[in-house]
């Protein structure tokens, strides 16, 4: 078993190590991928062009960037001797054979296309190539307000451009002489260009114009200064690039110079329908929320109503006349207790000792007398626990709804009624310092409820308990044991719940293990323990501490085999003789007779007897015998 365990451990450690290495490798390697290093490419539509001399031909310029194409500034070089620029760019330098394409917004898609138009001059072989390019990744588009103001968003990131674009141009045939003047050309090509561009670009709205002035500031920053003067030659373009302050009055000029596509994340075009839909959705949501709240509220009311009813009932009970008539009606049972106490830890037959038939019955008067005697005898002693007229009342629904729906149906039908269970009914007694008090009673008679009330876990419905709760220690077995944890972990968990500090547990750990005789099993999961082992461990933890001033033992004394039973009894005796006041709940009459100086008998929630253990136990057993006789 142990080796398997260690094997598992080694395996898991190995796996963890592999994981760590893996993550470490990831951390080391991944930065080289660099999430921000956006790359952009500038390419031409065809690998080569073979126009006929004298003819115009189109050259597609593509900007590609995986992060979305943003603002870009391209310079395309051509041989002015072989080619003649016709249009499509935002500016040109005819002497040096340069065409500029400036786009200050981009479209956010992975690629953007520009269309240039050239005219072939003579038969020759030359090339067009990208000279200097700047491409920015597409970021959040600047937000344009309705009044035309522009709110710029985060700065775009500059892309590094890899791969130099080049396309050979072979011109075939001879050309007629080119006659056109450069000034006219852009205007001529406007139409051409608009034809070639996608339809969406014609849908440009005046909004776009409004943003241009501000955007141009960006352009100026982005374009290296040497390039700007070149642009000035072209009148139309200079208007958009240079004269920032002047509102471009003619929409066409801008559109033609620089086809803009404005991406709007909000999709304002289809607002009305969506709002309607969402409004309906919201209505449904809010409606159902309100309905749910109402349901919950109604059921809350039901609870309240019950509470009030119960209070009335209690009031009525406290009226002596009323009580006489109704006492018999109370159904007193505590199903939960039956379960917890009968957990197989012990069987009653083992412990109950035979008794003779000479038991006497006690009337109320006797009880009174015994009480008085007790009081007279111990009056000078300190009273540590005083239980006064304690009533504990439970509601049990006679009908258990399977769910909210069912519950509501039944509620509407007024089918739901509640039974009031009196786990304790006007119980009073006192415990003085140094006493060892046994509490007896049949299953479900309210013993454990009484202990819970004394220890403070429950508050009584009426009546009061006076006790210094700080001095109380409730010993129960295996409270909070978790079967999935090892015994060692359970010692700490259970110990902490009982109220031991970490230091204390560290110090007493060995003692606990030794007492429980579980030295070899502490790293084992408790679910593999036998029930005897579990209770031994529980007992060892529960009694590890120095005895508190008031000890409450709930079925602690019938644990394990005979040897352990003796051992545990000795331990308890030790604690008792240490001067603690002790409350013991037990079914074992023997235990009580042996240890207690006083006995309290509770039957069906009522206090039957308080007094000398021998007398009370005799009466208890007499009742038990007579009941079984009736049963037979």
């Amino acid at each position: 078993m142990k080796s398997a365990k260690t094997n598992n451990r080694i395996g898991s450690i190995l796996r963890i190590a592999v994981m760590m290495i893996f993550t470490a490798v990831c951390v080391v390697l991944v930065p080289s991928l660099d999430a921000y290093a956006a790359e952009a490419y500038v390419t031409f539509g065809s690998e080569s062009y073979t126009p006929k001399a004298g003819k115009e031909f189109k050259v597609g310029v593509y900007v590609k960037c995986m992060d979305g194409v943003g603002a870009s500034s391209l310079t395309i070089g051509y041989d002015p001797n072989c080619l003649e620029y016709v249009g499509g760019g935002s500016g040109y330098d005819l002497e040096n054979g340069l065409v500029f394409i400036v786009d200050d917004i981009g479209n956010g898609a992975n690629s953007k296309k520009f269309m240039l138009v050239f005219k072939a001059k003579t038969e020759s072989f030359s090339e067009i190539h990208a000279v200097a390019n700047f491409v920015y990744t597409y970021d959040f588009p600047d937000v344009i307000m309705e009044d035309g103001t522009v709110v710029p968003c985060a700065d775009p990131v500059e892309c590094t451009i890899t791969g130099s674009a080049m396309a050979p141009v072979m011109i075939q045939g001879t050309a007629p002489k080119p006659e056109e003047k450069p000034e006219e050309k852009p205007e001529e090509t406007v139409n051409q260009q608009e034809e070639t561009e996608d339809v969406e670009e014609q849908t440009e709205e005046p909004e776009v114009i409004a943003e241009v002035p501000v955007e141009e500031q960006q352009i100026e920053e982005q374009i290296p200064e040497e390039q700007v003067p070149v642009v000035i030659d072209a009148p139309v373009i200079s208007e958009t690039v240079e004269e920032n302050t002047e509102e471009p009055s003619v929409p066409d000029t801008i559109v033609e110079a620089n086809p803009l596509y404005f991406y709007d994340g909000n999709n304002d075009n289809e607002p009305e329908k969506q709002v309607d839909e969402s409004a309906i959705l919201m209505l449904i949501l809010v409606g159902s929320a309100i309905a749910l709240l109402l349901l919950l509220w109604m059921s809350r009311d039901e609870f309240k109503a019950r509470k009030k009813e119960a209070k009335l009932y209690v009031d009525a009970l406290e009226d002596p006349n009323y009580e006489d008539e109704n006492t018999d009606e109370f159904i007193i049972e505590l199903p939960d207790e039956n379960k917890t106490q009968d957990d197989g830890l012990y069987s009653e037959d083992d412990i109950i000792t035979d008794i003779g038939e000479d038991t006497t019955t006690f009337s109320d008067d006797d009880l009174q007398i015994i009480n008085m005697d007790e009081r007279l005898a111990v009056d000078d002693r300190e009273r540590v626990i005083s239980v006064k007229d304690v009533t504990m009342e439970f509601h049990l629904s006679t009908y258990n709804p399977s769910g909210l729906k069912d519950y509501l149906i039944q509620m509407v039908k007024r089918n739901i009624s509640y039974r009031r269970l009196y786990a304790l009914h006007h119980v009073s007694f006192d415990v003085y310092k140094g006493e060892v008090v046994g509490i007896i009673g049949t299953n479900g008679s309210g013993k454990s409820t009484l202990l819970k009330i004394v220890s403070g876990a429950l508050r009584p419905t009426s009546g009061s308990v006076t006790v210094d709760r700080k001095k109380v220690q409730l010993l129960t077995l295996g409270t909070g044991f978790d079967m999935e944890l090892t015994a060692r972990e359970n010692v700490y968990l259970n110990g902490s719940i009982i109220g031991y500090s970490r230091d204390f547990l560290d110090k007493h750990y060995d003692d606990i293990v030794k007492f429980a005789e579980l030295e070899d099993f502490m790293e084992e999961k408790v679910k593999n323990f036998s029930s005897g082992m579990v209770s031994r461990l529980g007992f060892a933890i529960a009694t590890a501490g120095d005895a508190a001033e008031i000890l409450i033992l709930d079925e602690v004394l019938s644990v394990g085999d005979e040897f352990f039973k003796k051992k545990s009894l000795a331990r308890i005796r030790e604690m008792i003789h240490g001067g603690s006041t002790v409350l013991i709940v037990s079914h074992g009459i023997g235990t009580i007779l042996d240890n207690c100086t006083k006995c309290v008998w509770i039957e069906k929630g009522e206090l039957r007897m308080v007094g000398n253990p021998q007398e009370v136990c005799d009466a208890y057993q007499h009742m038990e015998n007579s009941e079984s006789a009736v049963g037979a």
Partner: protein, 258 residues
């Protein structure tokens, strides 16, 4: 005074022990154990990024971090409230037998979620390094946002735990509510894509507010705006006060019903 101090120490010790039980229990049968708390959000991030990062490429910069920020915060809130809900019922016997303040169990569940969140944060910090998010001073505000989330969760936890004692159905209702809340928290999509009406609702969502808060201070290096602070504080205080009151009022009835 000294007694009170040791009481608090004991209280902390109990919560820690309960928490370590929860965690050990949760991973009792898995061989990787607590590593899953780190691995799970990472894998989720990968999956979500694969699916959604191209979809929201234009509007979300650095989608994986965007998602992971939302997911860690959501995980904290989800784990804390969901487990706090069943805290009282699950610890029935302890509640009756042990002399412990009853809210120990609720707090220990929330604390468990926080510890889990701590492990998730390892993954988060790792990813911040991998994606080269620059360190800014505003990142130090991140714990403040988490504090808000925690306080809000505690309040809601009290409420849910109390109600769960009386109505089992709360569990299912809350499940649906959580789904709604998750989609209203803009964990993997940009809020700007929503219609304006819904945006307004989302801006009221406390979980989204925490996520927004975290994104602002971790990803974008901004100090969150005043209205975010205001709404978060309002939510947290309201939830805790309400939760405490309801819990206090119902305390004895809880003991009887359980």
């Amino acid at each position: 005074m000294k007694g009170r101090f040791s009481d608090i120490l004991q209280y902390v010790f109990v919560i820690r022990e309960l928490t370590s039980r929860e965690i050990k229990r949760k991973y009792a049968r898995s061989s990787l154990g607590i590593i899953w708390s780190v691995l799970n959000p990472l894998l989720m991030m990968v999956v979500m990024s694969l699916i959604f990062s191209t979809m929201f490429k234009k509007s979300i910069e650095n989608f994986p971090i965007y998602y992971l920020t939302g997911q860690t915060v959501w995980g904290l809130f989800n784990g804390a409230t969901n487990s706090a809900m069943t805290a009282l019922v699950d610890n029935k016997t302890l509640l009756i037998k042990a002399k412990l303040p009853k809210h120990t169990f609720i707090l220990s569940r929330v604390y468990t979620a926080l510890v889990n969140f701590g492990y998730t944060c390892i993954a988060y910090i790792l990813m911040l390094l991998v994606f080269r998010i620059k360190f800014t001073l505003t990142m130090l505000l991140f714990p403040v946002g988490i504090f808000f989330a925690l306080v809000f969760s505690i309040g809601l936890g009290y409420l849910l735990a109390t109600e769960y004692v009386f109505f089992d159905d709360i569990k299912y209702l809350y499940g649906i509510f959580l789904t709604l809340l998750m989609y209203m928290s803009a964990i993997f999509y940009p809020v700007e894509n929503l219609p304006e009406v819904v945006q307004k609702v989302v801006n009221m969502n406390p979980v989204y507010l925490v996520i927004l808060f975290s994104r602002e201070c971790v990803m974008y290096g901004h100090v969150p705006e005043a209205w975010v602070w205001a709404r978060l504080s309002a939510w947290s205080v309201a939830s805790v006060v309400l939760g405490m009151i309801i819990f206090r009022v119902q305390e004895n009835k809880i003991m009887q019903t359980i």
